[in-house]
């Protein structure tokens, strides 16, 4: 019995150290947890028990829900053409190219190559948002457009992850019906429910959201899909009521970041085999380039089409080449379901970590729009005030 407490102690200890390091150096705890997970997995090897797996999976679902709930529907509506085109290209270009590279050049089997494509098709709304806030671009039209496009990009990844590996049997269609009904009725019912329970100390709102997400995750997995798919969609349809309730976000984040996501990121990191990574550095470079080049070749011409200035176009392309959470979720899905090997997983996760860091640094160092470039985009649509 004491083994249970020792295991818990090890994981929570790693989570705490990650938080303290994050606090000290100002880098997101997710990235630090991934790195500490890698270090721990290759040294002390904390045991991955059933309950660790549950907390990690639930963490991924809640994290995906929170990401979905970050949708600013007004911005997407305003820049729907641009965000839809950029988002779809941002998803399909790296997905297709990385899939092709993995299958045709590296001889990975079809499903493993699709996982590689998915893991590298992502972008990161949160990573981009942090950069936008830092540069003051989050309030400008260009900033809002890029964020909306990133959102569409990630939606593509989540939908593909939810559909690519399913068998479309009876339970899948049952899941589709249940999810469709939930998505239709949830916004109205949730508003009604939140008014009724009114922030009671027993946290009925958080438990309500957990229940919905677990219910849909059950049907998704039963139908051969993935629990993060309904979580993202539920987040999207509840975004407006959720964003209006900052206290609820804070409470939900507190429980998620304290107990759930550390297990997800630490576990995702601990499964990385460093020996495999060092012996496959060439693959890391190939996949990094396949994602970055595909994003560039896809997004840059689209930017030209929308008459972005050269600098803004480079900046947009670089920002949309980032990725973190959904990249690791896709890779972990592949590993958990036996689609990719531990070595393939290790390479993909390291590439995902690199794509969170390198494009951001390049974009900030060389292509950050300054002065009038920040406001000039879509002046005809109302500029800053109109967004």
């Amino acid at each position: 019995m004491e083994q249970l407490w020792w295991t818990a102690l090890t994981w929570i200890g790693l989570a705490l150290v990650s938080s303290l390091v994050s606090l000290k150096i100002g880098i997101s705890v997710a990235l630090i947890e991934l790195v500490f997970g890698i270090l721990a997995g290759n040294s002390i090897r904390p045991p991955i028990t059933e309950w660790v797996n549950f907390l990690a999976s639930f963490g991924a679902v809640i994290l995906t829900f929170l990401a979905g709930a970050e949708l600013e529907s007004q911005t997407v509506k305003k820049f729907w053409k641009e965000s839809l085109l950029l988002g779809l290209i941002g998803f399909f270009a790296p997905f297709g190219v990385s899939w092709f590279v993995a299958q045709a050049i590296l001889q990975w089997d079809l499903r493993a190559a699709q996982i590689a494509g998915l893991a590298l098709s992502t972008t990161s709304v949160a990573v981009v948002y942090a950069v936008m806030v830092e540069t003051g671009l989050n309030e400008t039209p260009i900033g809002k457009l890029i964020l909306a496009a990133c959102f569409v990009n990630d939606l593509g990844t989540v939908i593909a992850l939810g559909l690519l590996f399913t068998s479309f049997g009876f339970w899948f269609w049952a899941f589709v019906v249940v999810a469709a009904a939930a998505l239709l009725f949830l916004p109205q019912f949730t508003r009604f429910y939140l008014r009724q329970v009114n922030a009671h100390p027993s946290e009925p709102e958080v438990k309500y959201l957990y229940l919905i997400l677990l219910f849909l995750a059950y049907f998704a997995v039963k139908g051969g899909s993935e629990g993060v798919l309904p979580a993202y969609l539920v987040g999207m349809v509840l975004a407006d009521s959720f964003l209006a309730n900052k206290e609820l976000i804070r409470r939900m984040r507190a429980s998620t970041f304290a107990l759930l996501t550390p297990f997800y990121f630490l576990k995702a990191g601990s499964l990385v085999n460093l020996t495999a990574v060092f012996s496959s550095m060439g693959l890391v470079v190939v996949f990094f380039l396949s994602k970055s080049v595909a994003k560039f070749l896809g997004l840059y011409p689209a930017g030209v089409l929308f008459k972005f200035t050269t600098k803004v176009n480079f900046y947009t392309t670089m920002m949309m080449s980032t990725g973190l959470t959904f990249g690791t979720i896709s890779a972990l899905y592949g590993l958990t379901n036996g689609i990719i090997s531990r070595e393939q997983y290790s390479v993909l996760v390291v590439v995902v970590i690199l794509t969170a860091i390198i494009p951001t640094l390049i974009a900030q160092s060389f292509f950050e729009p300054k002065g009038r470039e920040r406001e000039i985009l879509f002046a005809g649509k109302g500029g800053r005030e109109g967004v």
Binding site: S28, L66, A67, E70, A126, V133, G136, R250, R253, T261
Partner: protein, 137 residues
């Protein structure tokens, strides 16, 4: 002489000393003072709400500090504007200096142990700002 002075201010002892010097310069030159506090937000965040929460915490921490500093200088008859921004202090200070057209940046420092001097963000802020500042520092 200086017309716009940007003071990077975090309420620390070194920053208060710098603010005093800025006030002296402002009085002599008749310059407008811009007090800037920079709150840190996590890089490579995992959710937008994580960034938002960091912003809220920084705002709640710095708003009083900056308000008191601004009020003190106002009472001394100086023209003062205050603002709180977010990000890496070095980058943000330079960006705001450009945006406001500041011709002098003043920021305080404090002694560190050799370890801290080597690794702390404060040192990085100082050196990166010194290297690329668009005006006097």
């Amino acid at each position: 002489m200086f017309k716009k002075v940007l003071v990077a201010y975090d309420g620390s002892d070194g920053a208060r000393l710098a603010l005093g010097k800025a006030a002296d310069i402002g009085r002599v030159a008749g310059a407008e003072l811009h007090i800037l506090a920079v709150g840190r937000i996590p890089e490579y965040a995992e959710t937008v709400s994580e960034v938002e929460e960091a912003k809220e915490q920084a705002t709640s921490f710095y708003s009083k500090i900056v308000e008191i500093a601004g009020r003190d200088l106002n009472q001394k008859g100086l023209r003062v504007a205050t603002r709180i921004e977010f990000g890496k202090p070095g980058d943000v200070i330079l960006r705001i200096a450009e945006e406001t057209g500041a011709d002098l940046i003043i920021l305080g420092t404090k002694p560190h142990s050799p370890f801290e001097e080597g690794f702390s963000e404060r040192r990085w802020t100082k050196s990166s700002t010194t290297r690329t500042a668009p005006c006097w520092l």
